[in-house]
């Protein structure tokens, strides 16, 4: 991608990150703190984003939608624009929880369309990777707890619906408690995983330039993150609770397990 286009895109990504912070606060604290700032930043970022796309178009002399990075950037811009319109028309604040992180991650990935000449020592490189791995593992641990609580929830819910209490019924905690646990673990797990995705993308980008995006493992990771995002959104904004939410948590764990298996072979990539 053209150099100036990338610069504008990175500025946009920086502004979008405010939206991500707002989302994280909303999810973990259950209150919208920064929404006004985040929506302002989103609008401003949209302008930079548009500039970046126009720049890219002029540089290559055609509509900038060819190749992975260009289409990713364009797609992120369109989502931003659409969200701004929807927000302006319907004031759907709650949708932000979903849109902010999505736009940020997409723009971040798109802004990696041009390799940098980074020279970092092996210590920094390893430390960076350790941070990524620790965050991912924390995220998985939280997700595992979410899924365990979800299984218990499903069992207890069934007992209560069947109306014939068996021994399980007396041993399991109340539904309300389990639901609380699911919400808490899921929120924190999401925060860990999101930060891990950002850290991991940056690492891979610096290490492998533009090549990394084509790796199927990366694709699976991003897909899993997307599922996690959808789950958090459905719960926080759309009020998915109870049985549906529990089933969803178990699905998310399944996807993560898949990602983890895919990454177990990342070592080969790393040692190269």
């Amino acid at each position: 991608m053209a150099e100036m286009s990338i610069v504008w895109l990175r500025v946009a990504a920086g502004l979008y990150s405010l939206g991500l912070i707002d989302s994280i606060l909303t999810i973990t604290q259950r209150r919208a703190h920064l929404f006004r700032i985040a929506i302002g930043a989103l609008a401003l970022a949209g302008v930079f984003h548009l500039v970046s796309i126009v720049e890219q178009g002029t540089a290559i002399g055609q509509f900038p939608a060819s190749g992975f990075y260009e289409s990713m950037s364009l797609c992120a811009f369109l989502i931003t624009a659409l969200f701004l319109v929807v927000y302006w028309r319907y004031r759907l604040e709650s949708l932000g929880v979903f849109i902010f992180p999505l736009v940020f991650i997409m723009t971040l990935v798109a802004s990696m369309g041009r390799p940098v000449q980074a020279s970092w020592s092996s210590t920094v490189r390893d430390a960076w990777l350790i941070v990524h791995v620790v965050l991912v593992l924390l995220g998985y641990a939280a997700l595992l707890f979410t899924a365990v609580a979800a299984v218990l929830y499903l069992v207890q819910e069934r007992e209560l619906k069947r109306k014939k209490p068996r021994s399980f019924y007396h041993r399991l905690p109340p539904l309300g408690t389990l639901d609380d646990l699911i919400t808490k673990f899921m929120s924190w797990g999401f925060v860990f995983i999101t930060v891990a995705v950002v850290v991991g993308s940056v690492w891979a980008f610096v290490e492998f330039g533009t090549r990394w995006v084509t790796d199927p493992k990366i694709a699976i990771s991003l897909f899993t993150w997307g599922i996690y995002l959808a789950m958090v959104f459905l719960r926080v904004s759309a009020g998915w609770r109870g049985r549906k939410a529990a089933v969803m948590a178990i699905t998310a764990l399944g996807c993560s397990a898949l990602t983890w298996v895919a990454h177990a072979q990342l070592q080969s990539l790393w040692l190269r």
Partner: protein
Amino acid sequence: MKLLVAGVSHKTAPVEVRERLAFAENSLPLVLRDLTSRQGISEALVLSTCNRVEIVVAADDAVDPVATVSSFLQESRGVATGALGPSLYQHEGREAIHHLFRVASSLDSMVVGEPQILGQLKQAYAHAKANDCLTGLLETIVSRAFNVAKRVRSETGIGQMAVSVSYAAVELARKIFGTLAGRTVMIVGSGKMSELAARHLRRSGASHIFVTNRTYERAQELATVFQGTPVEYTRFPAMLPEVDIVITSSGAPHYVLTRDEMQRVIVARRNKPMFVIDIAVPRNVEPTVNEIDNIFLYDIDDLQEVVNANLRDRNKEAERAEALVIQEVEHMMARLKVQEVAPTIVSLQGQLEQIRAGEIERVRRKLGPLTPDQEEAIEALTRGIINKIAHGPISELRKQAGRPDGVHVIDAIRQVFHLKD
């Protein structure tokens, strides 16, 4: 020391008999003092509740506590024990301990596992204690009974499950919501059972109760009882999304809450769970409401089913509790027996020591003054001999203490060593 429990309970006597024997709480000091003033009675405890009247005494071996308690009942209640026939039970010794442990553990209660009896026994204990009527054996046994009851409670599930319909409703609400603090309740219609359930919910922390009724005045009346808010009958469906627990018991001949309506309510609640208790017959809530996610509908039969299951579980737990009580009784008996042989051991040791001291004195007179070394040697020698002699009988005494036919062995040892009481 002898132990006797004499009394009547809901299992052996109808209320006409129990009420004739019952003691008013304020008469207890007098009654207890009367009992302990009788010959040979050292300790006494009187337990008088609506389901049982029991007199527990500890008496000297020389007296017959049965006769004493009979004459006490004759004099203070004007009831001849002969006239009571099989209504009156009298347990002595081991049986008495067993009975006390079972009563304290609520295994002899009308509803097995209900804990009130323990409180009543504690009160009886406090009265007896205050009047200096518990000083030894009986005190040990009754305080052990409290521990046994505690063990039964914590090691078996006997008191865990609700055995009344209204309590079952509260228990279910806890299973759904966790804590009930801050939950709101809506009562539709009125009825004894719904009032009772609402009262329990309120006591468990429910923050607010709305009451609605076709006649608004009735709703107002009921609302004052719970310090709740009366709601006009036409307005109550609109308030349902704000309510966590709904209790319906109206006399309406048709469904008051339909599936479609509840579907709308749960959407408006953003899927927060809801507990609907339908106590009305005919039912007020469409049964398929239970199929909606996050709504839990229980009708009167469902609640009864939960209660029945709990009662079955309780009876199963009661069997485990009975075994535990027997085990505790054995422990207690062994402990008492050890206490019984303790004086024998002491007098045996005393006897041997006396012989030893006498013999040393004799030797000293014969040999004249001894050097400290010699003194020490003789001391060690003689002590070693009597310890070796005493070892056999003492360990035999301890071993026989817990056994039913140990009395003969203990007597034999006492005779062999010429031990006096």
